[in-house]
Symmetry: D2
Subunit: 290 residues, 4 copies
Amino acid sequence: MNKKDNAILLISCPDRQGLIAAVSEFIHSNNGNIEDADQHVDRRSNVFFMRIEWELNNFNIDRNQIEKEFLPIAEKFNMKWTLSFSKDKIKTAIFVSKYLHCLYDILYKYREGQLHLDISLIISNHSDAADIAKQFGIKYVIIEKNKENKIKQEEKEMALLKKHDIDTVILARYMQILSKKFVDNYRFKIINIHHSFLPAFVGAKPYEQAFTRGVKIIGATGHYVTEELDRGPIIEQDVTRVSHRDSVEDLKRIGEELEKFVLSRAVRWHAGKKILVYKTSEGNKTVVFD
Amino acid sequence: MNKKDNAILLISCPDRQGLIAAVSEFIHSNNGNIEDADQHVDRRSNVFFMRIEWELNNFNIDRNQIEKEFLPIAEKFNMKWTLSFSKDKIKTAIFVSKYLHCLYDILYKYREGQLHLDISLIISNHSDAADIAKQFGIKYVIIEKNKENKIKQEEKEMALLKKHDIDTVILARYMQILSKKFVDNYRFKIINIHHSFLPAFVGAKPYEQAFTRGVKIIGATGHYVTEELDRGPIIEQDVTRVSHRDSVEDLKRIGEELEKFVLSRAVRWHAGKKILVYKTSEGNKTVVFD
Amino acid sequence: MNKKDNAILLISCPDRQGLIAAVSEFIHSNNGNIEDADQHVDRRSNVFFMRIEWELNNFNIDRNQIEKEFLPIAEKFNMKWTLSFSKDKIKTAIFVSKYLHCLYDILYKYREGQLHLDISLIISNHSDAADIAKQFGIKYVIIEKNKENKIKQEEKEMALLKKHDIDTVILARYMQILSKKFVDNYRFKIINIHHSFLPAFVGAKPYEQAFTRGVKIIGATGHYVTEELDRGPIIEQDVTRVSHRDSVEDLKRIGEELEKFVLSRAVRWHAGKKILVYKTSEGNKTVVFD
Amino acid sequence: MNKKDNAILLISCPDRQGLIAAVSEFIHSNNGNIEDADQHVDRRSNVFFMRIEWELNNFNIDRNQIEKEFLPIAEKFNMKWTLSFSKDKIKTAIFVSKYLHCLYDILYKYREGQLHLDISLIISNHSDAADIAKQFGIKYVIIEKNKENKIKQEEKEMALLKKHDIDTVILARYMQILSKKFVDNYRFKIINIHHSFLPAFVGAKPYEQAFTRGVKIIGATGHYVTEELDRGPIIEQDVTRVSHRDSVEDLKRIGEELEKFVLSRAVRWHAGKKILVYKTSEGNKTVVFD
C-alpha cells in the first residue's frame, strides 16, 4: 500500500513535443523527486497519456497550491488532468445483491490493507450480506427495488451516497441496472464486474449463454458503468479454460474465482489512480498504468 | 502419431444403463484390447458420448465385418456412430488466401509427422502460396473469386475436391464465405480459424474491433463451418493478454500465434477422431476427447 | 456438490485386456447405472487407472457387501483399489499459521457448499486465526511449537486428530515441517500449498527467490506431503505473469490468489476422490480425474 | 516494424532526483520529439532504468555527435548507457542442431518483416538445416563438434562471427554448451531457448524431467547465456497446462509451441533494444520495456 506522501498527476492531451520535459521539469525545478512515471501515446487518435507520481516531502510548492502552479502548463498543452494525493483514500460504497463472493473478497483484502480505499457503506436490495457487513464493521443499508419503485429507490441511494460523501461505487455482483441519471452522477466512478469475457455474452445469465454456445474458455470483465448495458470502458479481464465436462454450475463456481480476481484488480487500480479513460469510435477504452 | 492398427468408435445416444458394459464387452469378448476409452454425459440433454479405441491385432472380427457385428448393439441403444481406423488418413484440402502463417504452420507440422492426415490439395483465390505449396510438394490450384463468379467457382472447387476424394477442408485464413450448398456437402468436415474469441467480434476485422473496444485479452477460435457465419460448433479456443500499448498491428502479430496454435490443435483432434458434435438450443457444440 | 447416493471405485493395476469390461459388467449386471467413468494408462509403466462412479439406488448389492462382491475381480486383475460413497464426507482438519487467506478461502467455500468435506478442527501454532474459526463455528486449538518441543507437540496434534477421527489434513500455509512419523500416519492424506511453481524454489521464501532470480511467471503448487520437503506428488499448479515492475510484496499479494485457487482445487479433487497416486523413478505423481 | 529514423537511449544508474527531467530536457531542448519513454526503479537496489526513443528528423544534433553531447549528463548521473538507432539492424547469427522448429519460426517471421534484424549466418553441428537455410537464402556453415575438437571448432565459429561482423547469436535449440571464452565475447548478446520453466529442470532432457516429476504445467524460457548453464538472466517465459494424459512425446510437441513463441519474443525485444540487464545477489535479471 502506498503510505507515502506523494502527489499524482493523471494527464491526457493531444500529443505534442516537449510534454514529458515540461511536466518533469515542473516537478524537478520545484525539488520534487519522481517516484513513478509512465506515458503512452495512442497513435491513431494522437492522444498522449501520462501518470506521474512524486514525493511531496521536500517539494517547494504547498499541496494546496500545486493546481494553481501547474495550471499554465496544463493550459499550454490543452490537458485534461486530475491531481490527487496518495494519502487520500477514495470514499467508496459497495452495492451487492445475493451473490456474496466478490463482496467478501474485497472486504477481506480491504481489511488486509491491500486496497487503498475508505469503504464506508454497503447498499443492497436484500438482507443477505448484513452479517458480513457487521462482521467487517461497515454500515449496511437495505434498499429494496422492484420495477415500480426503482426510480424512487435510486433517489434514496443517491441521497445516501451524497450524505456519506461517496466518490466511487463498486457493483459487487449487484443485479440491478442503474439509471442514466445515476450513471451520469458518477461518470467513470462506478466499477462493475460482469461475469463474462465481454463483449461476448452481454446481459443476463452469461454462464448459461457460455454453456449453450459451447465456448472452451470463460471470462470475467471489470468495467466502468455507462448508460449502455455492459458497454462501458473495460478495465480488466481474465479467463480460464473449461471443457465439455463442466456443467453450468461448474462454470459458475469456476467463474467466481475470475470475478473476484478481476474486480479486486480493477478496484485496486482505480484506488491507485492508475486508470485513464478516453473516447474511441466504439465508445470508451482505458489506459491502465499498472 | 498413431502408427498402430486400431479401430475407433465414436458414439452418441440417449443415456441409458449398460452402455459402457455393452460396448466394452463387445470388444473384450472378441479379444480386443482397449487402448483408450472416454465417456461423457450431458446431463441437460441426457446424451451419452463415447470414444473407444482398441487394437485390431488379435481382434476376432475382420475389420470389414466390425460394422455389421456392432450394428445390433448400436440399434439397441439408438446410437449415432462412426467407425474408423487409425491407419486411415483423412484426405484433406487446405483453402488459403493471402495470410500464410497458418498454412505454413500446418504444413510444417504435417511434414514433421505431427498431423495424421493426407494433405493432397491446396486451393487459393490468389497465387501467394504457390511457392510454399511447391516447397512442400503439394498440388496448388488457383480459383479466383469475385462477387459475380462466386457460385460458379465454388462448383469448380467442389468438383476438384470430389476428384481428389477430399473428406476434410481446412480454411487456413481463407477470406471467402462458402455457400450453404458447399457447407452442406461437408457437414462438420470444414474447419475454420476465426481470429477472435468467439462469440466476441463475429465477422470482418476482429482485431480492429478488439482494439476499438479496448479488450484486455484477445483470442482465436477453431470451429466447424455451418451456414451461419462464425456460428458453427467451437472446437478449440485460446487467448493472450494485450494492453493499451498494443496497436492493431501488434494485435495482428500476437494473434497470429494464437491462430496457428488453435487451428493446428483443432485439426489434430479432427484427424484423431476426437470430436463429437451435438445440437443445443443455441446451435451446436462439441465434445472433444483430447 | 455430490448429493447423490453413489459408489466410487478408484483402481490401479497392471494394464490388461478386459479390465473395463469386467468392472462395467460387474456394475451393470447388478443393475447399477454408471454416472461417470474415466480411465488412463501410463504406457511407460503399463499401469491402468480407473475411477468409476455409479448410482446405488437400484443397485442389487447392499453397500456393505460391495467390497466382498468385488473382491474376486480385484484379485483377478491384481488391483489396488478403494471403494467410497459420495454421501460420506471426509473428516478434515486444517493446520494454519499466520497467513490466513487460504484458510479463509476454504472456509468460505466450505460454507457455500462447494467442498464436500466435514471440517471439524483447526490447529495452529498461533492465535491469529481464532476469530475466523469462531466465526465459522469450527473448533480451534493452539499448539505452539518451537525447536525443542516440536516432537512432543506433534504427539498432541496426532492425538487430537485421532480423537476427532480425522482422515485428511490441509496445510493452509502452515509454516512448520511435519515429522516422518506424522507423514507416515497420513500417507497421501496431507495436502500442502507451496507458494511456488515446484520444483522451482523449493523451501523457504519462494517469492524472494523468484524475485531475485527474475522469473517472468510465478506459481503455486498443491501437493501431498511426503517425508521429503516439497517433493510430494503434485495435485495441481497454477501460474500468473509478473514483470520487473512487481516488488516482492507484489509477488506475495499476486501469489495469494494463486495459492487460494490451487489449494481449493486440490482439496476439492481430494474430497471428490478424483486423485490416484503412483510411483515413478523420481518419486510419486498423480492422476487427477477432474 | 520500426521504419522510422529514431534514436534510442538505454540507461541504468543509481536513482537520483532530476533524472527524467535531465534526459527529457536534453532531447526537447534540441528539438527532438519523444516517441516512447519508459522508466523503472528497483527499490531494493535503488537502480534507475530508462528507455527513451525520439525522432531524429528535426533533431538539432547530428547523430554522430549525440554521444558526445549527451556525455556530460551521463557522467553527472553516473550512467551506464548505450545509444542506438532504429534504422540499424543488429547483425545476427543463428546456431542450430537437429530440432528445427525454432529456426523455422524465426526465419519465417524474419522474412515477414516481424524481426528487425539482419540474419546473415546460420551455424550448425549438423547438416539438417541446410535446406531451410537455402530456402531462406542465408549462408549455412557446418561446424561439427565432439568432445575432442570442441575448443578448436569454437575458435572457427568465433572467427566466422567476426568475419561476418556478428553482434548477436541466437541459439535456436543448439545442443552444445559454449565455452566461457565464447560467452565472454558476446556478453548478453547470446539468446538461448531452454525448454523448461527455469529454474525448474535445468540441464538435459527437461521434458523427461517434467514428465517424471508429474508437473501440471510445462514451460519454456528465453534467456541470455552466461558461463553458468541455464542460469543467465531470463528475458521471457511462457507456460501451458498439461495433464497425466500427456506422454513425454506430447510434452515435446506441446512445448515446441512455447519454445517458438518465447524465443521469438525474446529476440524481438532484443532487436528493439527493449532489454536492460542488471546484477542481483543471485546473478542477473532483466528489465524488459515491452
